[in-house]
């Protein structure tokens, strides 16, 4: 039991991202309102960002900016891993861009159908 608990605690970052991600995924699949779906999509993307960021963490290390005056003796273990941060900067930008486009599309959909509820839209399509 203790061992399990230990594992659970030692890796809590993974559980958090998985839970968040599944919330997002559920939102995208199951929600009826298009904006809620977009929100779900954003949560989904953010969860992945969390995952990446958390893997760059090193215990006892500081942000990856070389401290002035210590340039000569840099040890990798003193600074956290910069690579996931870089990657996630990109992923954030991508997420923002996707969000922007998705919202723009939602605006267009609303103009066309006067609603953002998916079932109502489908109903309207079926009628026409």
């Amino acid at each position: 039991m203790d061992r399990i608990l230990e594992v659970v605690i030692a890796k809590y970052n993974y559980w958090i991202y998985i839970v968040l991600m599944m919330i997002g995924l559920y939102g995208v699949i199951a929600k009826n309102n298009l904006v809620k779906k977009i929100v779900g999509m954003s949560i989904f993307q953010t969860a992945i960002i969390l995952f990446f960021i958390s893997m760059g963490m090193k215990k006892g290390a500081t942000i990856p900016i070389i401290i002035h005056g210590q340039e000569a003796s840099v040890r990798a273990s003193d600074y956290i891993n910069p690579l996931p941060h870089v990657l996630m900067l990109t992923a954030i930008v991508v997420a923002v861009s996707t969000l922007g486009v998705a919202l723009a599309l939602a605006v267009k959909v609303y103009k066309e159908f006067d609603t953002l509820e998916e079932d109502e839209i489908l109903e309207k399509i079926r009628k026409s």
Partner: protein
């Protein structure tokens, strides 16, 4: 749909949890991710690029190519929003609102009606945004220059502290969006026109890609900033630092302009006259 959603989520979640068993614990300094590729970035960043901020050097140099496309992604998003939403002439709103500043009276002018001349006493008003708050407006007016100054600092100081083109560009863009929110969209557009924004957004990414292409023309690989030392009076390592700065500026401009374009188009549903 709901049941399907739950099923998919549970299955995927279970799979991911199963796989997590092999992952290193949180903050493990000996994880493969920390040992294989990344140490070089930390240990050599000063030596190879003379940029102490490893995130910046990786972002704009080691993996600068990614970042170029990242900028392109946001540019693409801006163009997409513009193309999807922008409505051109002939489809104007039916009426415009104006407010008499001194009395707070509002006027509605029909589309076919006589346009008000640009008077000091009247200001255009967004029909969806009626409240008029002197304190808010004045405060924002006061704040915006400082925000912009800070944005420039963030862009310029990205080599030494957290920051860089994206962050600075977003702040810069936010300042203009704040202007549009606190006043109205037309005054924001008067400061910086749609066409200028479009040119800025493309110019920003073009600066990035152009720097890369310049390196190529100078005989080295694409985005190899070291080649810039041939035309700038710096050594190859310094040239990398310089190149990073150049592209960060480009990123900043592109991000700023694109953020504003996206906001304008989304907020005004493409009319580009009245915001939220």
């Amino acid at each position: 749909m709901r049941i399907l959603g739950i099923l998919v989520c549970v299955a995927t979640g279970a799979m991911l949890i199963w796989a997590s068993g092999e992952f290193p614990p949180w903050g493990d300094p000996n994880s493969p991710a920390s040992l294989h590729v990344s140490p070089r970035y930390i240990e050599k960043t000063m030596e190879e690029t003379s940029v102490p901020n490893a995130v910046t050097s990786v972002l704009a140099d080691y993996r600068g190519y990614d970042t170029m496309f990242e900028t392109t992604v946001i540019f693409a998003a801006g163009v997409s929003c513009f193309m999807l939403l922008r409505l051109f002439s002939g489809r104007e709103r039916s009426s415009h609102h104006y407010r008499h500043i001194l009395t707070g009276l509002t006027l509605r002018v029909r589309r076919k009606g006589k346009q008000l001349p640009e008077l000091e006493e009247f200001e255009p008003m967004d029909s969806l945004w009626t409240p008029y708050d002197l304190i808010l407006r004045t405060l924002c007016r006061f704040l915006i220059p400082f925000i912009q100054l800070f944005a420039l600092y963030v862009i310029a100081h990205g080599h030494h502290s957290p920051g860089g083109g994206f962050q600075g560009g977003v702040i810069l863009g936010a300042s203009m969006i704040l202007l549009a929110i606190s006043q109205d969209m037309r005054s924001a557009l008067r400061r910086i026109r749609e066409r200028t924004l479009a040119i800025f957004s493309v110019a920003g990414v073009a600066i990035y890609a152009g720097t890369g292409a310049l390196c190529l023309i100078l005989g080295s690989n694409f985005l190899d900033y070291a080649a810039l030392s041939r035309i700038f009076p710096v050594d190859p390592v310094g040239a990398r630092s310089l190149g990073i700065f150049l592209v960060e500026v480009g990123v900043g401009i592109a991000v700023m302009a694109t953020m504003i374009v996206i906001y304008h188009n989304l907020a005004s549903e493409g009319f580009l006259d009245e915001g939220l």
